[in-house]
Every structure is written in C-alpha cells, then in structure tokens.
Amino acid sequence: MLSLERVTKIYRLGAFGLKKLVAVRDVSFEIGEREIVSLIGESGSGKSTIGKLILRLIPLTSGTIRFEGMDISAMNSRCLKDYYRKVQGVFQDPFASFNPIFKADRIFRMVHDEFYPKMGAREWSEKVEGALRAVGLNPPDVLNKFPHQLSGGQLQRFLVARALLLDIRLLVADEIISMLDASTRVDVLNLLADLRARGLSILFITHDLSLGYYISDRAIILYRGRIAEMGPTERVYNRPLHPYTEMLMESVPRLDRKWEEEIRVEREGDAAISAVAGCVYAGRCPKAMDICTQQEPELREAETGHFVACWAK
C-alpha cells in the first residue's frame, strides 16, 4: 500500500545552510494492507523525519514514496486532499501540534470544514464525542479548553481522536503513547489493534520495545538514519541479527531483573550525527572488524523477510 524507495532527507543547518545533516539515508520499506509496522530507534535516528516525509510535511531530498502506486511528491492539491483523507499522522510533541491561542477542539472543527462541510452540527458533535470516548477521554472534561489547560496525555489523545474522525487507511503514529500511563497505553494500543482489524494500516513509531512487540507485525530498527534490521517482529526480537538490536533487547528495563545484574551496556557514542564512510554503528559495535569502518554494509535479506545491514552476518 505504501512504499518508500531509497528515501533520503538532508537538512541544512546554520545561517547560510552550509552545514548538512543527513537525517535519513537510503531507506526503503513497505507497509501492506492491515499491517502494523513498528519503527524503532534512538532519539535522533530519523523516525519522525520518516513520518513527516510520508505525510509530505517536509520535502524529500531524494527517493520516492508511493501510496497505492502514486508518487506522493507528484500529487497536486486535489490528489493531496484525497491523500490526507486516507493518510493521517499523530505527532510526538502534542504541545507543538496545537496553536495556543485557540481552543484545543478547533482541530476537530478544521476536519469538519475541510472534509465534512455538509455534516450537520448535531451529527458532527456526536461523531467527535464518539471519537473522544474511543481514546478514553470524557468529552465534557476536555472540550472547550485551551491547550495549556490539558495535560500532555490528554492532548495526545485529542490528536488520535482527530485521526479517527476520518476514514483513514494509514495512520502514522509517532510516539503516541509515550505520554500516557500504563493502563491508558494499553487501551490505546488495543484500540489500534481493533482499527487494524477494521482495515487500517499503522506505522507505529516508538522507543518502547515491549509496546512494539505487543502490537506490530513487522519491526524496523533504525540507527542514525539507516535501517539496521527489519523483519517479522517475533524474529527481530527473539533472534536479532544486528549487534545494535541485540544491545537494545538486552537493555529493555524488566520487572524481573535489575540492570546491575546484566551485562553493562556501553554509553551512547559521542560523535554528533554526521555522515561516515563505513557502518554507522561501527563506533559503538563490539563486533566491528576492519571492513566496518571502511565500507558501508548494504541491507540484505538474511532469511525470508528478515533483513540486516551488518558485515558480521
């Protein structure tokens, strides 16, 4: 349904845009019908950038993104409106998604004006209230308030509710549950699972490995803008191929074991994010060999559907 082909995004920094920052490089993957794909990676690895590229919020540097076969960069404004009817995103920092001078529920009215201009007020407010309840909010509590009067988790669920108002096919969910407590997280996750059963595909961006495991069919592990590993969730978690994935799986905080008892994981490498000649993980990798610092490993299929970019494999 959605495919990314060698997608690259370079940001320009500094007063004259002289410094370049490669946020995402040569990333290719697909999301099928009714599929939940989790995108996992450390902060700054390019997860949100990929989400924003899919939603066309920022332009591509190179590569192609297709939705149902159509190149999204080539869409005109009519096509684009139709695209947004099918593809919606909920972004990480909920405070940044609201304009502080308007009431928070303005985001719903905008959906109405844009996509359902003919729907009557009564029917519309029932629809909005239904969507709010679906995300565990009590409508009278949260309607008619300014963004600063709501908590982080409340605002984030507003954004999920907005996406539910449209009959979407693909949801880009960027850390939508990081701001929620454990029990609300479970509710929202179960809601996503139900939506999938009704035909929705989801790109589930998260830093929380246990949640990624709970919900997704496939997992993509991103490291500094590159795909390190990708495959069926169970394989990636239980038989990781990339040293970075292995390390992640070992540092998951668990309730049956304290960190001290585990192998100590090295601290995150210090180099600021920049282009390198070899493997982007070489500096931190305990298995690095000579070739790793000289040449970049390509993503290859190690077993059916399970891809890894690592010289050691």
């Binding site: 920094l13 902060s43 990081s178 407590d181 179960n190 994981v265």
Partner: protein, 315 residues
C-alpha cells in the same frame, strides 16, 4: 530533605477551580530518588511545578513546602527566583525540544548563569568536569541543540540543571523520548549525580514504571489530583495496597506478550473530572472493591514504616 505538607493547588478557570492537586503530604529524604507515577492528567506535572514555578492560572490554596528545614515561598514567583537552580531545579516535560535552536549550548548556559548573577568563566571548569563525567565532549558547548542526538541533549539538560548542586531535582518525563539504551544511560546518570552529592533528593515523573523499578528508591502514585500510595519500590511492585496501584502495575506490558495471544487490559472507566469532582474516594467509580465507606475521603495513612495508602480497604 523535602517535606510537603497538605499542599493544595488549583487551576482557576472560567468555570471554577480545577482541583489538580489536593492535600499532598509526603517527604523525600536526602539521597532518595522518588518516582512519581499515575494516570495521564492526574496532576504530576502540577505537583512538580507547584514546588518551583507556581504561577497563574495555578492558584496556591494551602500547604507548606519545606526544603532542608527552610520553608519555600512557593506562592511568590519573584522570591522563588533565588531558590531556582541553587536549591530546586526542574527539568520540564519536553525540555529537550525546548532548547532554543538558534543559540549554541555554551551561550545558553552563559545567559542562564548571568541571569542568576554568576560568571560563566568561573563555572566553566566545573561544567567541563561534569561534561566529562557524563561522557560528553566539550565541543557540545559550541554546538546547536539540533546537532545533538536526543540522549546527548538530555544529558546536557541534566548537567545544566544540576550545575549549581540543587538540593532537589524534579525531572518530568526526561526519558520518554529516548530508546532503551539511552534511557538507561540517562538513568545511570541520575543515580551517579545522587551518589556524588550533586543533588540530594530527586523526583522523577514518568510513565515508564519499569524504569522506576530499576532506579527509584520509592514510588509515589497519584490518582485524580490526590496521593494514593507511597512506598519503597519493592513494596509497590510486590505488595501494593491501593486498588489503583495494583491495577496500574497489572497493566504493564512485558516483553514477550503479543496482543494476538494475550490481550492486556487497561482499567475500565475514566477518571472523574477535576472541575467538580465527586465526594469520597476519587477512584470509587472504577474500583472493583469499593464499598459504602468509600463515599468518605480516605486519609493518606502510614500503614507500615514508609508505606502510605489512601484506601478504606487498606488500613
């Protein structure tokens, strides 16, 4: 040591008071790392801010905050200035993204220190020592926030907020955007800062309860603006007495559970509104063991040393 007594703070709105924090009474000892958990919207950020940045529409209603024997004038934003950074420091939710993108890190720190009437050059050696300690190169001082990875930004924010050795550090969701290995590094840093005496008491607000299990000495659980339970970490996990705490712990996902196989359950129902909350225990509507007594507010009582609970079933 931090002592909070009967602290009540409401938000003033056109429709009346939002009772986001009521009668909070607890202490955080020297060297204690206390986790603060609870449902989204239950008042965690409100509690953190009350102690350091209490400003409209927050309204101070009553209560006292005493730090190292001295009462903090929390109701007076101006007078609190001299306590911020020096005695209490707050890392707000999203501090990482709030770093001014057009200012280099070093410049930002210099401005901050100037506003506290301190000299950057005098503090620089200590600043560098601390950067070394958290394994950040001194080059970060010459970089823009956007050039740093999330973990680096978060470590920078932590170094800055603890530079003046505050007695109390309040960290609001500082790990929620980080991957597990970076989370771990940031948490180890919190513990190390405590061990080295850079901060005495720490309050960590987070939804990642499994992280609290790793590093917190005690956990305080809130529900709908009130304290439900506080106990040593092990006790919260093994012998929680408040039904909300029990259900919260019960809804934690473990690695190895997939929804196709085992569907986790949240807590049915939703929290009461805080604008005009119902009388009695605020968890009553959702509580599986509620009984007639629960129409009265359960007091927050110490049922065994260091274990406080507000539930009629627990005393």
């Amino acid at each position: 040591m931090l002592q909070v007594e009967n602290l009540t703070v409401y938000y003033k709105t056109l429709r009346g008071y939002v009772r986001a924090l009521e009668r909070a009474t607890f202490t955080v000892a020297d060297g204690e790392i206390m986790g603060l958990a609870g449902e989204s919207g239950c008042g965690k950020t409100t509690l953190g801010h009350s102690i350091i940045y209490l400003r409209p529409p927050m309204n101070y209603i009553e209560g006292r905050v005493v730090l190292d024997g001295q009462e903090l004038p929390i109701w007076d934003m101006e007078r609190m200035r001299e306590f911020r950074y020096r005695h209490v420091s707050l890392i707000p939710q999203y501090a990482m993204n709030a770093l001014n993108p057009t200012r280099k890190i070093g410049k930002m720190i210099a401005e901050l220190l100037e506003s506290r009437e301190m000299n950057y050059d005098e503090i620089l050696p200590e600043l560098k020592r601390r950067l070394d300690l958290v394994q950040l190169s001194h080059d970060v001082l010459k970089m823009y926030p956007i050039e740093l990875s999330g973990g680096m930004k978060q470590r920078t924010v932590m170094v800055v907020s603890t530079l003046l050795n505050p007695s109390l550090l309040i960290a609001d969701e500082i790990t929620s955007a980080l991957d597990v290995s970076t989370q771990k590094a940031v948490c180890e840093m919190l513990v190390e800062f405590r061990d080295r005496g850079f901060v005495k008491s720490t309050i960590i607000i987070t939804h990642d309860i499994s992280i609290l299990y790793q590093i917190a000495d005690s956990i305080l659980v809130m529900y709908a603006g009130q304290l439900s339970e506080k106990a040593p970490t092990e006790t919260i996990f093994r012998d929680a007495r408040h039904p909300y705490t029990q259900m919260l712990i019960g809804s934690l996902p473990k690695v190895g559970v997939r929804y196709q196989e085992e569907r986790l359950r949240g807590i049915p129902g939703s929290p009461p509104q805080l604008l005009d909350p119902p009388p009695g225990c605020r968890f009553r509507d959702r509580c599986p063991v509620a009984f007639d007594r629960c129409v009265e507010v359960p007091p927050f009582l110490e049922i065994s040393p260091g274990h406080f609970v507000a539930c009629w079933r627990a005393y």
